[in-house]
């Protein structure tokens, strides 16, 4: 590995920005998608990690010509080092995970879109920067040519995707439809409702969770225009900065419209350097140059021990990237389980000093945050003021309180001066509190003897034009923090042992994959399945989109699960009760009348979903009309009935994407296209029709759609308000549908009708209650965070995967199962968990046992004590309490205290502000 020099000493750099201010060399700012310039010495953006400057050697005048060196002269800490050289680093590792990402397609070569020649034709990445508050226009939607606010913006979809004529990317980039809608909606929010946003598209692919509802709201509530057409010509209008679009509507009409600006929704592709890297690593790539993986091994590359995730494994969105990346770490964990904890060292902490009963000795540190705070607030004045406040032993300022040297100095002062409470007046505790608390811990002080107050975001940033009042406000904030911390006590975090085992609910593909991964990483696992056999819905599926036989792989999986001595399979079993909390669950399993209690540290919900049985399109009235899974069964059995077919029709979106079930079932387009090809293969002369609303063969599944069209499968689009009509009773089944190309009603006569029915969740309320996990209006479980926590619940220790989360194909189910396990193992591997110190506690002498706290708590933390002196009074389980304070506010007896935010502390702050009534 070659380590490139930064030319700035990371240990020394304090990111003050003096170097960049004086650097004479302006270069293109790639972070802002080239819309503005930055200097040759730079940080990519203010929140960059690490926040250390670095010199771009390609453009630096000194490194190119040996003259200049202004940055070196201006640096106050002597961090600039032109002598740094590239270093070769050799690493020995047990496994490699490739997550090198994608590059946005460059439309520079597409002359018909005028991207290279007209300033008001930009890419979606450039538009993202224009929308961003941290971007070059601070979020004002203006067009590049004249900085005027546009009145009409057009988005062109599939630029660099689904296109073999003007580029080589035959695949669908999966994310562009959704980001274009998001950009249009946000642009309207910024500019106002009158902004005309039009999205020109081929198929609208909103196949992700909650995406369809967003699409519907964008069209019907925000008023975004959706036009199904590929624009063929863009012409600049002379003597103006506007552009003329020519396109053909679905009705075949040629239209001309004028827009102020055009956004090209560019696709995702693998960069040429990455293709070379893959070659060097001897890793197979797909037709679209993504890392090749199998459906049942979704993160394994062709080379053992090397895993791939993110957009390098296929064009995908953030949630799917996060799922895959956790899955890749689970795969590496399965490989290296026996070497866990061999290369890491546990941090040694000094013993905690007991400060109870001591008079408060408060240290106050005021951060200048470079010029962020000190440019507005008179920091020395605030320091002087703070040093005269009650109990303050020491006060000083820091250029950057978060820098390593400032941290070391703080720890030193705590020890030297015997400080027992610390206040930091700086930025936001949301990002920086843990860092300062760690410094306290390193200095032997309880980390709760700390208070942070925000004199940047809530002061210097918002009162730039009023430095004197800003200084006064900083004093107020510091005084309040000092008065609060003086009353602060050391808090304990309860240590809880984690039971080193897992329970997986649901024995389908996802559940089995999860159980197998737990077992391979060394954990006992209970796999609970309500039916009499493992396999779930996969038992009914013929082939994967990549052509693998599902049955074969499924049997291998079942065998692996059955033969693992760490997996206990419980068939014909249901959960009848769950007690406990993260690390210590106790679940009751009931099977044929007998009950068994199992202990487990974590739980994974993988209960799956089922196929919708429709009551439309003649289903149930004629055996030639069947669901997708029923056709799969015939294909698996090689049913002779399939040999006499002359024609077949697939009807898409049966039960999906309509009122009452406003979601896309994600798998049905690919499934139907696959089966249409399978029928064509059996009899190439057969007429096969697919009646669809939008073909959603996302990612590299697009190749199947291409192959189907080449094989002669006929695709006919229909609208929701003009659904196909199926007539039975005759020799053939007739389907009436309006052909979108001919704009005329046609009648198809077919021998078989396949209804691509929705994937519907079980909506298991009982299970949701057992684990206190939420479900959405459709009945799918709601994950912790749509983007960053897709495979876990807000409830600690409970995880989610497979169809119970949202419809998805087998590879994505397996990836999510592994992801859920990866997240769970981060907990199991710690062997113990700590509850937070800032939790509620009941003064039971005051408790009136009214039960309001018990009923109001969203986490079921309070309960009535069952025994002891205070039996019948409320008590709070520290492991379940999240410290939200609802019970404190609701307690009519004033019996509940929130540690760290106790009433006297809050009041002391209010009194200090002189704001109490």
């Amino acid at each position: 590995m070659l380590r490139h020099p930064r030319y700035v000493d990371e240990e020394k750099c304090i990111a003050c920005g003096a170097c960049a201010e004086k650097c004479p060399k302006k270069v293109i700012d790639t972070y802002n998608a080239g819309l503005v310039k930055r200097k040759a010495i730079y940080v990519e953006y203010p929140q960059a990690v690490p926040l250390k400057y670095s010199i771009d050697p390609e453009t630096c005048i000194y490194l190119q010509k040996g003259k200049c060196g202004v940055c070196q002269k201006k640096c106050p800490v002597d961090a600039v080092d032109f002598e740094q050289k590239p270093k070769t680093v050799n690493l020995n590792v047990g496994s490699v995970i490739l997550a090198p990402g994608f590059e946005p397609f460059s439309p520079a070569g597409l002359e018909n879109y005028q991207y290279s020649s007209h300033p008001n034709v930009i890419t979606s990445m450039e538009f993202e920067r224009i929308l961003s508050a941290s971007g070059p226009t601070t979020g004002h939607v203006v067009r590049p040519s004249d900085n005027a606010e546009p009145k009409r913006i057009a988005w062109f979809q599939c630029v660099g995707s689904r296109d073999l004529n003007r580029c080589d990317n035959a695949y669908c980039s999966s994310v562009c439809c959704m980001y274009a809608i998001k950009e249009a909606v946000i642009a309207k929010e910024h500019v106002g409702e009158d902004l005309d946003c039009s999205i020109f598209y081929m198929d609208m692919r909103t196949h992700g969770k909650e995406f369809e509802r967003f699409y519907d709201a964008a069209e019907n509530r925000s008023g975004v225009n959706f036009i199904r057409s590929r624009v063929h010509t863009v012409t600049p209008i002379p003597d103006s900065d506007d552009l003329e679009l020519r396109y053909v509507t679905e009705q075949g009409e040629l239209k001309t419209e004028i827009f102020n600006m055009i956004v090209l929704s560019v696709g995702l592709q693998t960069s040429p350097e990455l293709i070379k890297l893959a070659e060097k690593l001897d890793i197979d790539l797909t037709e679209g140059h993504f890392a090749k993986t199998g459906t049942f091994t979704p993160v394994e590359t062709s080379r053992p021990g090397i895993y791939a995730c993110g957009a390098f494994q296929g064009p995908k969105d953030i949630p799917q990237s996060v799922v895959d990346s956790s899955a890749a770490s689970a795969a590496a964990g399965e490989l290296l389980a026996e070497q866990r904890n061999t290369q890491v060292k546990e941090r040694e902490l000094p013993p905690e000093t007991d400060v109870s009963g001591e008079r408060p000795k408060i240290g106050v540190f005021i951060c200048q945050c470079g010029v962020n705070i000190a440019g507005v607030v008179d920091v020395p004045k605030v320091v002087e003021y703070a040093s005269n406040l009650p109990y303050v032993e020491f006060a000083s300022d820091k250029l950057f309180a978060c820098s390593q040297d400032a941290q070391d100095n703080m720890a030193e002062l705590i020890r030297e001066k015997g400080l027992n409470r610390i206040v930091v007046a700086a930025c936001t505790p949301k990002t920086h509190e843990p860092l300062f608390q760690e410094t306290l811990t390193d200095a032997g002080l309880n980390k709760y003897l700390f208070e942070m107050t925000n004199i940047r975001n809530q002061d210097s940033w918002v009162h730039k034009n009023n430095p004197e009042l800003a200084t006064e406000k900083a004093k107020d904030l510091v005084r309040m923090a000092v008065s609060k911390v003086a009353l602060q006590e050391a808090l304990k975090e309860t240590e809880l042992q984690v039971h080193p085992s897992a329970m997986v609910v649901g024995g389908g593909i996802a559940g089995m994959a999860a159980a197998k991964s737990f077992a391979d990483q060394g954990y006992e696992t209970h796999l609970v399945e309500k039916s009499g056999q493992l396999g779930g819905q996969a038992r009914n599926i013929f082939h994967t989109a990549k052509g693998e036989s599902v049955g074969e792989k499924l049997n291998e999986m079942i065998q692996a699960v059955d033969s693992s001595n760490r997996i206990h399979v419980h068939l014909n079993t249901e959960l009848t009760n769950v007690e406990g909390f993260v690390g210590n669950f106790e679940s009751v399993l009931s099977s044929n009348g007998s009950e068994q209690t199992v202990e487990h540290g974590v739980a994974v919900i993988a209960t799956g979903a089922e196929a919708y049985k429709p009551d439309e399109y003649g289903y149930g009235k004629d055996e030639r009309i069947m669901t997708s899974l029923e056709l799969d069964k015939k294909l698996m059995d090689d049913d002779p009935a399939l040999n006499n077919l002359n024609s077949a029709a697939f009807i898409q979106c049966v039960g999906s994407r309509e009122p009452g079930r406003m979601y896309c079932s994600r798998v049905c387009c690919t499934h139907s296209v696959e089966n249409a090809l399978a029928l064509k293969k059996r009899n190439p002369d057969m007429n096969v029709y697919v009646l669809y609303r939008d073909v959603r063969t996302y990612g590299e599944k697009e190749y199947l759609y291409r192959d189907a069209r080449q094989a002669g499968v006929i695709f006919i689009r229909y609208d929701l308000d003009n659904k196909p009509v199926v007539k039975t009773g005759g020799d053939k089944i007739t389907i009436g549908v309006t052909d979108h190309v001919l704009q005329m009603p046609v009648e198809l006569e077919v021998d078989l009708v396949n209804l691509a029915t929705a994937v519907i969740p079980y909506g298991d309320e009982k299970l949701a209650n057992f684990f206190k996990v939420p479900m959405n209006e459709d009945g799918f479980f709601i994950e912790k965070h749509a983007k960053l926590g897709p495979s876990e619940f807000s409830t600690d220790g409970v995880y989610l995967c497979g169809l119970a989360h949202y419809p998805k194909p087998i590879d994505e189910s397996i990836a999510q199962a592994k992801a859920a396990v990866s997240r769970a193992v981060t907990l199991l591997a710690q062997e113990k968990v700590f509850s937070s110190g800032t939790i509620a506690q009941v003064d039971q002498q005051l408790c009136a046992a009214c039960g309001v706290c018990v009923s109001i708590c969203p986490y079921s933390a309070p309960s009535f004590a069952e025994e002891g002196r205070f039996a019948g009074k409320a008590e709070i389980n520290p492991a379940l309490c999240k410290g939200c304070g609802l019970c404190v506010a609701s307690c009519r007896s004033g019996a509940i205290h929130l540690k760290g935010f106790d009433t006297d502390q809050i009041f002391s702050q209010i009194f200090e502000l002189d704001a109490a009534i």
Binding site: V93, V96, I97, Q339, A786, T826, A829
Partner: protein
Amino acid sequence: MASNKIGSVMVVGGGIAGMQSALDLADSGYYVYLVEKGPSIGGAMAQLDKTFPTNDCAM
């Protein structure tokens, strides 16, 4: 067999996927080398404005 394996992993790429892998592995007891070609981590997501559905700032 066992002695040939090493309890450390190299993660190539410091975007959202690489960071999540690195965090999961580090929290599970493996030493992680996170390799990024640029001067800071964050990847393409750091360039985005807001993200669906929470409209949280992508940063």
